[in-house]
Amino acid sequence: MFGYKMVWKWVAAALALLLLFSLPGGCTARVKGIFKNILTPVQGVLLHGTRSFKAGVDSVRGLGGLAEENRLLRQEVIRLQADKRVRDTLAEENLRLSGLLQFRNRQSIELIPTQIVSRSISGWWQSVGLGKGSSSGITPNRAVISPDGLVGRTAEVTSRSAEILLVSDPACKVSARVSRTGSFGLVTGRGVNLKGYPVARMQFIHKDTPVRVGDEVVTSGLGGVFPRDIVIGYVEEIHMEEAGLYQVAEILPQAVITLTDVVFVTAEEGE
């Protein structure tokens, strides 16, 4: 039967569990960070292996060295497109508000290109893992964008990895604006629909604003986390809230649907 040694073992295990559950956020982040820092390079290697294998298959198919060149060019195009989009946005904004507001900080927004190395281990969360962390200048609560628009925001960051909450995650909330009408609202993630597409919902749109299916939804810039005028997605469906106080729009978050292997994290001001 159970001896004293065994009883002590179980008591110690129970105490350890209790301690784990009551740890403050900083400590749990550190414990998670240890595992993540160990495994992120492994994930990177696995991902690289998968891509190399795919490139190898492409080469065998007759594409030769074009496969590698194509990959490099595609990365360059993505970087240039992202750069152009940010520059266009900043130029337009400066034009409209020059003389009224000082957007010096906004002009200094720097993008940190980084690779996606993992998905969430559980399908309950809409998140992806990045292969860079605080040692590359990434901090929590920064906007993550791609050439197609807003991807999400950074959540937990360790020295060598970072977790992004996608726009389609229910914990990700973004102050938004319908481009055509200028009406404001709040975009909240809704997970994945039954067709497998990530979805989001824009709430609190003024009830008299004529929002249409296909309207572009962009970030409003309010709140300080997300830069202004980054595309979030397009209205797929619009309906009135049950009490008739405001309109609700179902949105397809474009950048999440077309998520590539490279994204850009907006650097902290002054980085």
Binding site: L17, L23, F35, S120, S122, G191, V192, L194
Partner: protein
């Protein structure tokens, strides 16, 4: 099966689980690699190692999810100990056993997280996606666990010829 091998398997399993895309038609349910590994380990090793594996799997699962640390730990520990307890009642060398355990394990995992997330308000739980998720967990668990059993069965025969899985 040594602790070192268990650690390596679980680390590799966790990495794999974060890389494999979940099938869209099954509610984007993740491939339950860690769960399948725990089921296989629990049927084939001693109690201390089963406990160690359950603990490590729970920690790894929480590490790679935005959930607070410790949420998955009770599930993996209970599954590991539960399967260890009934291991003399089941045919541990039959592939069908792993299929059934994978199916039940997947079902329990979805129900456990549904309960935890609904009770804590961490995640919204809706009927449609939940049904797809349940179906996904059943099918993926039933498919993946026997597959991993076959792979693991081939593994220790080379490493520990005399002791087999237990105590190696």
């Amino acid at each position: 099966m040594s602790r070192r091998l268990i650690t390596l398997l679980l680390l590799a399993g966790a990495s794999l689980q974060t890389l494999l895309p979940g099938p869209v038609w099954l509610g984007s349910h993740e491939w339950p690699v860690l769960l399948a590994l725990i089921l296989c380990i629990a049927l084939k090793t001693d109690r201390d190692r089963v406990l160690y594996a359950g603990l490590l799997a729970g920690l790894l699962h929480d590490t790679f999810s935005p959930a607070p640390l410790g949420v998955s730990l009770p599930f993996f520990l209970l599954v590991a100990l539960g399967v260890y307890t009934i291991r003399k009642e089941v045919f541990g060398d039959q592939i069908i056993t792993y299929g059934v355990l994978g199916l039940l394990g997947g079902l329990c995992k979805t129900l456990y997280f549904t309960f935890v997330f609904a009770a804590s308000g961490l995640r919204p739980v809706e009927a449609g996606p939940l049904a797809a998720r349940l179906g996904g967990s059943l099918l993926l668990g039933a498919f993946l666990t026997p597959l991993l059993f076959l792979i693991l069965a081939a593994l220790p025969s080379r490493r520990t010829r005399n002791t087999g899985w237990i105590g190696g």
